[in-house]
């Protein structure tokens, strides 16, 4: 196991290096002078020149890249032009809010997706099975930012049941925290619920055909024990992988959802950086998100090995 962890970490290094390279190169894509684009049309030549110097654009790309990596080694992702403060500090302040939103979305995904998938597998080709298929199809087809707007109109404006936006920290008001996360959490989770339910359903169908399930039934175990103890445990192996992927997607989906619901998380910070053409902040946000996903995938692999002892991580 330890060897596997070390090997996976080593394998992640070139990918992480390329990730940093891509994030660092984003500013190179800007046509013309990035400083002029960032400063805006009303900026004077002196302001643009000052910004160019501040961003290091008056120096060769290789030199800037080296400096960026040096900073990265010290946890320094540069300086945000918009916020006038270090990128690392700005991102770290927002991470808990995004984690809370993605975590809540994941909770909804699991709480709805796994039971729906299990029930659909136990009742194949019935209305509940069709419902799972429909939720999955709607989930992948409805744009979640538009769904958010419609949920705001319905539950925030017309019925006035839930807040239409904003964020209340858990420490200030736990009930308010849950209330303000319900709509954005559901908007984020809808896509994942259908996908998780379909994977759970397919795996459950496979497991229910296995001999040990038939044996458990044959020896007279009650149905809830057969499903809960024998089948569900084995269904969880592929489902954990999907949950890991889902969490990554929930994290990335927060850019749009946080913008729509005015939630002060990392996603909204990144969206504002994009609107304001704050390239150091865009680079830092991209890097943190991608690196988190690479490490998340590693974590899922390890969990996979823990859940299923048959999974061997030999060299082959």
């Amino acid at each position: 196991m330890a060897e596997f962890i070390v090997r996976r970490l080593i394998a992640a290094v070139p990918v992480l290096f390329l990730v940093t390279l891509i994030a660092a190169s984003i500013m190179q894509l800007v046509p013309g002078d990035p400083a002029a684009v960032m400063a805006g049309q009303s900026a004077s030549d002196i302001e643009i020149a000052r910004l160019r110097e501040q961003l290091g654009l008056d120096r060769p790309f290789i030199e800037r890249l080296g400096e960026w990596y040096l900073g990265l080694a010290h946890g320094d992702l540069g300086y945000s032009i918009l916020l006038n403060r270090p990128v690392t500090q700005a991102i770290l302040e927002r991470v808990p809010v995004t984690l809370a939103l993605a975590g809540f979305g994941l909770f909804l995904t699991i709480a709805l997706g796994v039971p729906l998938g299990v029930i659909a597998a136990l009742r194949p080709n019935t209305w509940i099975d069709q419902l799972v298929l429909t939720i999955a199809l709607v989930g992948v087809s409805v744009p979640n930012f538009w769904l958010s707007l419609m949920l705001i109109v319905l539950f925030g404006v017309m019925l006035d049941w839930l807040p239409a936006g904003g964020y209340i920290p858990f420490g200030d008001d736990p009930v308010g925290w849950v209330r303000c996360l319900i709509l954005p959490g559901f908007s984020l989770a809808l896509l994942q619920v259908g996908l998780l339910a379909r994977i759970t359903r397919a795996t459950m169908l496979e497991v229910l055909r296995q001999d040990y399930v038939r044996t458990a039934r044959a020896k007279g175990l009650p149905s809830f024990l057969v499903i809960g103890k024998h089948a569900l445990k084995n269904v969880m192996v592929p489902v954990v992988t999907v949950i890991g992927i889902s969490f990554g997607l929930l994290l990335s989906g927060s850019v749009v959802i946080e913008t729509v619901y005015s939630i002060p998380g990392m996603g909204r910070l990144l969206a504002n950086a994009i609107f304001g053409r704050d390239y150091p902040l865009i680079q830092g946000g991209l890097l943190i998100t991608a690196a988190t996903l690479v490490l998340l995938n590693l974590g899922v692999d390890l969990l996979y090995a823990l859940l299923d002892p048959r999974v061997k991580y030999g060299r082959g």
Partner: protein
């Protein structure tokens, strides 16, 4: 004798092709998808004929009209006819989606073929693809589009850059299987050139999963283009794209929710149609990939 054989082959060809279409037409989800997508395609193609007004024509005295006879889907905050903007929006949104499919199809196939067939290139190409895929698709697309500047072409570039690695991975995995087939090994043993083997054997046998993948990419691209436009990094306003229309409507949700409602529905119907088409194609072309039923 040769003529008889040729006639037999000619007669056999359509007979072999027919079951595919029949199977597709028997697939309920595929037919539903084809109808939904077909409707949006007709709207886009005949936008000039079926629109009521030019999409950018403002009529201030008709602002915020609810759906009525003169304006079937109502008007927006500038008094522009939402139906007309919707059908012209279909033109641009579908054109961007189609362009992404073409670029992604060509680039993804080229990279996937090269990585799968020439094993020396595999590690280099696929590590680069892995790195691109490490970024969340929509986030990377937003960042690239933001760097390049808001325009339809840049949206195509950004979305193609994001979806090409996913396509390349699918093509590579098919190529890895096909290149080990006996007929490919036989062709190699006969001294056939790599280019000929790829063109004659590998590519045709990789088309089915590629076609399925590209159908889904079309759906993702339509959804992603709407997000780019909504966030202000797609084609700039007043260009009528569905994402722009939703973004304009979000400030008037209380008094005129219909402004954001209809373009969102258009995106959802298009994406649903394409997803159903993709599901149908996958079920018919590659039943092994189908999620089990019963």
């Amino acid at each position: 004798m040769a003529a008889v054989e040729a006639a037999a082959v000619a007669a056999a060809a359509p007979a072999r092709a027919a079951p595919l279409w029949r199977r597709l037409l028997r697939h309920r989800l595929f037919v539903t998808g084809a109808i939904l997508f077909g409707v949006m395609l007709v709207l886009a193609v005949f936008a000039d004929l079926i629109s009521i007004l030019p999409p950018e024509k403002m009529q201030v005295r008709f602002r915020f009209r609810r759906p009525e006879w003169a304006f079937p889907l109502g008007t927006d905050n500038f008094g522009r006819d939402i139906w007309s903007r919707l059908v012209f929006g279909a033109q641009l949104s579908l054109a961007i989606g189609f362009a992404v499919v073409i670029v992604t199809g060509i680039a993804g196939t080229a990279i996937g073929l090269a990585a799968g067939y020439f094993r020396r290139l595999d590690n280099l190409l696929m590590r680069a693809m892995d790195a691109l895929m490490a970024f969340p698709a929509i986030l990377l697309a937003i960042a690239i589009a933001a760097a390049l500047g808001p325009s339809a072409i840049n949206a195509v570039i950004a979305l193609s850059a994001v979806y090409t690695p996913r396509t390349a991975r699918i093509v590579r995995s098919t190529v890895l299987v096909v290149r080990e087939m006996e007929y490919v090994q036989a062709a190699l043993a006969c001294g056939a050139r790599h280019g000929w083997i790829i063109w004659r054997h590998i590519l045709p046998n990789s088309l089915a999963p590629l076609l399925v993948q590209l159908t889904f990419i079309f759906a993702y691209a339509v959804l992603a283009e709407a997000i780019l436009s909504f966030l202000g990094v797609g084609p700039p306003p007043p260009t009528p794209t569905w994402g722009n229309m939703i973004a304009e409507g979000k400030d008037y949700l209380r008094e005129a929710p219909h402004i954001a409602l209809f373009p969102g529905l258009a995106v959802a119907i298009t994406a649903l149609g394409l997803n159903l088409l993709g599901d149908g194609l996958r079920d018919v072309l590659d039943p092994r990939l189908r999620v089990q039923h019963g």
